[in-house]
Symmetry: C2
Subunit: 241 residues, 2 copies
């Protein structure tokens, strides 16, 4: 959340983004901590301009947070319970120092805006974690990557949103060949396998995994990668086009 013109936005409709990265054999999610007295985490989100499509809005929000454009991004579900009101944030804002808020560009209008009930469109994004430079917005205390197995306590239904996003990722990773979005340009077969194992939280047989992936015909074999280790050097691969 950052200062915005509430007049130019669609009312009571928001976008929440689950930004997935992969690092150290673990799937991670980019989550800002809000700058409030209590510890409080919320998914990166935003609102939709009147003259802007929802996909464009999601891309804009992602660019603000990651600095990246052209990243894989897809809506996966709408969260629209009647109880989707951010009571925690509301309370904090009501008791907060008005001067401090004003300094951040947050006015009474914004506080009232944020106190409404919101229907939120869930998007998930896949990024190369090394290419992201997380950007704090004005009301964030910090922005960090949290492993999917060790998430902070989040506001409202944001934990459910992440769970649903992970379900969707699991369903799509294979059928739409999304893996390369989470990896560097080149990678070894073992790295790809470990990514799959992190997503599905289950081990795969090494030889059969290699066969299955290569039979898809979407990988291009490059030169070998000499690591200096006392074993056969693995090939590097790249996704075609």
């Amino acid at each position: 959340v950052k200062p915005f013109d509430t007049q130019q936005m669609i009312q009571q409709l928001s976008i929440d983004c689950v930004i997935f990265g992969y690092q150290s054999q673990a799937i991670k999610v980019l989550i800002p901590r809000l700058d409030l007295p209590d510890e409080c985490w919320a998914l990166p989100g935003g609102f939709i301009h009147q003259n802007e499509g929802i996909d464009h809005a999601a891309q804009r929000i992602l660019k603000e947070r990651t600095g990246l454009t052209d990243i894989y991004l897809e809506q996966f579900r709408v969260f629209g319970g009647a109880d989707r009101i951010n009571l925690a944030l509301q309370d904090h804002l009501k008791t907060a120092d008005r001067d401090k808020l004003a300094h951040l560009g947050i006015s009474e209008v914004h506080v009232q805006w944020l106190a409404q009930r919101f229907v939120s469109i869930g998007y998930y994004a896949l990024v190369d974690i090394d290419k992201v430079k997380p950007q704090k917005s004005t009301i964030d205390a910090s922005v960090d990557w949290y492993p999917i197995k060790n998430l902070p306590t989040m506001i409202m239904d944001h934990h459910t949103i992440i769970e649903e996003a992970l379900k969707t990722l699991r369903a799509h990773l294979d059928e739409r060949l999304l893996g390369f979005n989470l990896l560097p340009d080149t990678f070894t077969m073992k790295e790809l396998q470990e990514l799959y194992e992190a997503v599905y939280d289950t081990p795969f047989a090494r030889n059969n995994f290699q066969k299955k992936i290569l039979d898809l015909g979407v990988l291009e074999r490059l030169e070998k990668k000499f690591t200096g280790a006392a074993n056969k050097a693995p090939y590097l691969y790249r996704f075609k086009q």
Copy 2:
């Protein structure tokens, strides 16, 4: 669309329902024709009350149109292009007879409401076509079932919405065993096969289809159905519980 209190609704957010039925070896969609000078069809839709979850809103809209409760219903996608403004309806309403509109309970406030840009949540429903008694709303000229292969020309992106709903149905029919929602309580194996053939628009081998379905273990075999035809009488089946 019927008279409503715009104050109690979420602004610029709508629900559009693709109601699927099955009859005469064809998948059909329930579509109202609007009572306007030009021929004009639009998906059954509605808006979300302030104190109402989106799933509940979709159920309410469906009950208004079909008279049915407890029907299979699921959101499948959000349509949110910046250009989603119902220009056709807008023009019609502007030139329409104000007295006639007032008689239907549609005021200037409603006309302005409908002229906004809308983000729409797509839901699809599966119903037993014989149990539905289509209900006209105040601005409908008629409500009819149209075969998926022969749809009328629809407003805005409603044709795209139906296509996406069909894609989702195809993806879900098998994995979630949704077939029984479209059929009467009891049915023959041939009828079930013809349903699948209608959904996927492709023929299946009779014996293999039977084996595949029975191996799922979700059907209960009942007595035979004597049709009077000069051939072996087929068994009737029912979905377990």
